[in-house]
């Protein structure tokens, strides 16, 4: 299934409302604001564009709300959890070895 490839091929994969440049919901916007400064490539899909994608993601992750953030193939959670992980240093640890985390400008693959 394509979702399995999404989260495998993209070290940070977001399923969100809107796109990173223009999130369409406060929670998606918060997730982007937390992740951006780490300057890792953020891949995303906009679930507002496609109701089927939305249900497919929910079924794939067994998680009922958006955004959903996957790091290295693993669901880390939504915006509350990503903010929490940022505050306690866990996020830095998790994103450390992602290529491009040092010098890359925040590159967005949508």
């Amino acid at each position: 299934m394509f979702l399995a490839y999404d989260v495998k091929d993209n070290p940070v994969m977001l399923y969100m409302k809107g796109v990173p440049e223009l999130p369409q919901c406060g929670f998606s916007s918060l997730a982007i604001r937390v992740l951006k400064p780490y300057q890792v490539p953020l891949a995303s899909r906009n679930i507002l564009e496609d109701p089927e994608l939305k249900s497919a993601v929910k079924a794939f992750s067994h998680w009922p709300t958006f955004p959903q953030i996957f790091i290295k193939g693993e669901l880390v959670g939504g915006s509350d959890i990503i903010l929490n992980m940022h505050q306690n240093g866990e996020l830095k640890e998790k994103l450390k070895e992602i290529s491009g985390s040092q010098e890359n400008k925040s590159e967005v693959n949508c």
Partner: protein, 119 residues
């Protein structure tokens, strides 16, 4: 346990009517209390902050109760990751999420974490 909510007295049409008249917040309270044996359970309806965004206009049947802030302190969170804790909350509220509950902001802590870092 005391339910802090405005549910009505049982009417002449019986219990089913009363259940449907309970607010979502009060149903969430009892479901979370049952599932998680919470020692602290704060439920704040913040739907008004999200009124009018596209997804909400379709949910006329949910009485506007779509967005909540939750704070749950439960011994059942002991040793569980944040993802797992949030899943436990979502599992307890599965029916509500099916019926118009749209988003939750969740603070999920163990009693011990509250003692060490009260906030």
């Amino acid at each position: 346990m005391v339910l802090e909510c405005g549910e009505r007295e049982m009417g002449s049409r019986g219990a089913a009517t009363v259940v449907s008249q309970l607010t979502r917040a009060s149903r969430m309270r009892s479901k979370l209390q049952t599932a998680l044996e919470a020692s602290v359970l704060e439920i704040e309806d913040v739907s008004h902050q999200h009124a009018g965004h596209a997804a909400m206009r379709e949910k006329a049947n949910s009485n506007g109760e779509t967005h909540f802030n939750l704070k749950v302190v439960s011994p059942k969170f002991e040793g569980q990751s944040l993802v797992k804790r949030h899943r436990m909350v979502y599992d307890a509220l599965a029916d509500e999420l099916q019926s118009g509950l749209h988003a939750l902001s969740i603070v999920a802590k163990t009693p011990q974490e509250i003692v060490l870092n009260p906030k």
